[in-house]
């Protein structure tokens, strides 16, 4: 490590540590989210979906795939990143991180990178699982991957913020459970917002998740609730906001240092 350069060794050490944690708990990290998504496909896709009409020419079972992947991506990114930084605070092992010659943004790159990697892998596994149940097509693979990476990164950052903010296990859970999950469900995972009455359609536009799901679904089926530019723009706005908050947290030492 040079005096000015980055501490790549530290980034790699944290990243590996976090990835190793995943492989140590495969049931919790991989099997359980894949199982719950499969259940959605069985219930909504196969059982109910067979009685639903196609939306914009896309069979219902296939229509919900992007939304379901987003749902897992959001919740898993937040869960991975928030737990990763909360746990060392809880056990006290954070002392080592604070005493190490690492910059705050190197810590963020490592933790958020690992959390995002995990949820992207998970998203791809769910995509592969979905292909077993419903006919899939991906119209714009590049955009699909871009949305996947941007969303995973953004929500891992968001989870990281929650993990730093939380000073107990309840706080760690409260935002994912009470805010993110409802927003994800109401963000058009299971329906097109065109199907809503006009008033609710307007209300829904205040839900940031709508833009993520819309853009992501567009990359699959070329259909969208809002334009691609708006989807991408909103995603980037949220990403920037999260980076700014994380920067503020580390510059002030908020909740990490006295």
């Amino acid at each position: 490590m040079s005096a000015i350069g980055m501490n790549w060794h530290a980034i790699r050490a944290i990243y590996r540590f976090e990835m190793a944690r995943t492989w140590r708990t495969p049931l919790q990290s991989i099997v359980s989210p894949v199982l719950s998504t499969s259940l959605y496909f069985v219930v909504f896709g196969a059982a109910i979906g067979s009685r639903m009409q196609a939306i914009d020419g896309v069979p219902y079972g296939a229509f919900i795939v992007p939304g379901l992947i987003m749902l897992s991506l959001l919740t898993q990114s937040i869960a991975n990143a928030s737990f990763a930084i909360y746990f060392p605070k809880f056990t006290g092992t954070i002392y080592e991180l604070l005493s190490a010659p690492v910059a705050w943004w190197e810590v963020v790159i490592a933790y958020v990178g690992a959390a995002a990697t995990k949820s992207i892998l998970l998203g791809l596994i769910i995509l592969a699982t979905a292909a077993l149940f419903v006919p899939l097509q991906i119209a714009h693979p590049f955009w699909m991957l871009l949305f996947l990476v941007l969303t995973a990164t953004t929500f891992s950052l968001f989870g990281f913020i929650i993990g730093i903010w939380a000073d107990g296990f309840e706080k760690l859970q409260v935002i994912p459970l009470l805010i993110v999950t409802p927003l994800a469900f109401l963000g058009g995972s299971f329906y097109s917002i065109e199907m809503l009455p006009p008033v609710w359609r307007t209300v829904t536009l205040f839900n940031p998740v709508v833009y993520l799901i819309s853009g992501f679904r567009w990359s699959f089926y070329n259909i969208a609730d809002v334009s691609l530019g708006v989807s991408l723009g909103m995603t980037l706005v949220f990403l920037t906001a999260c980076i700014a908050i994380v920067g503020w947290i580390f510059r002030t030492g908020y909740r990490l240092k006295n």
Binding site: N7, I14, F17, E96, L98, S99, N258
Partner: protein, 308 residues
Amino acid sequence: MQPIISVSGLSKTYASGFSALKSVDLEIRRGEIFALLGPNGAGKTTLISIICGLVTPSTGQVLADGHEIVRDYRAARAKIGLVPQELTTDAFETVWSTVTFSRGLFGKPKDPALIETLLKDLSLWDKRDSQIRMLSGGMKRRVMIAKALSHEPRILFLDEPTAGVDVELRKDMWQLVRRLRESGVTIILTTHYIDEAEEMADRIGVISKGEIILVEEKIELMRKLGRKQLTLSLQAPMTELPASLSGYALALAKDGAELVYTYDTKAERTGITALLQDLANAGIRFNDLRTSQSSLEDIFVSLVKDRR
């Protein structure tokens, strides 16, 4: 020689308003074992935490091997290893992976040979593939030391290294610290076991209520502040001291069976020769004598008490 750590005007006031450090100045010499002594809540851990980057100072400056710890934190922290007081470890990690992780975190490339040596030195080699939660308390403490040494620091902080550690392990720990010093590592340890400081330290600093009230060579400190006592076992017990001996700082002990003379080792004349002469003149005979020196503990207690 430039000090390896130089602390100047360092203060810390916590958000609660508690002033943990009050303008502390301190210099640690290269290669020494420095013991920081003080009662609980005196500011020992705060001082260490600031130097290591865990706590932000309110005012003042710290240089670690010439690097300012806030502005030039990368260079400063790369030189420092910290073993905190609490046994905080990643329970599910193996010994090997946690020590390897620490080395990476501190910006050093992998070096399995070095970690092997380190684990062997700390008698952890047999446990390298065990999860940390399976280890005893003493082993966990050694794992934390291994983590702190994994990036080959020049300065090692040991915060209460032997708190809650059994006698045998304490001795091992002391030996380890001496070996480290021989290899050129500067060691700063906090303790409230005074015998530990007395046994190990080259210099001693006493901190009380956020202020360094004394820094002294251990030997010098003992010599300067050390009082000696000469105890004479009398052939015949005495009920009171003869008037001819009233000029001496004498006291009777053990129901008059012993006569205790307290004197100052730094005084030019201890008065022992004159005392023995006068005792003989007064016809007081004794069948045994011994001297004892006040321990660091006595010195410490009197120092802290004086400031109350």
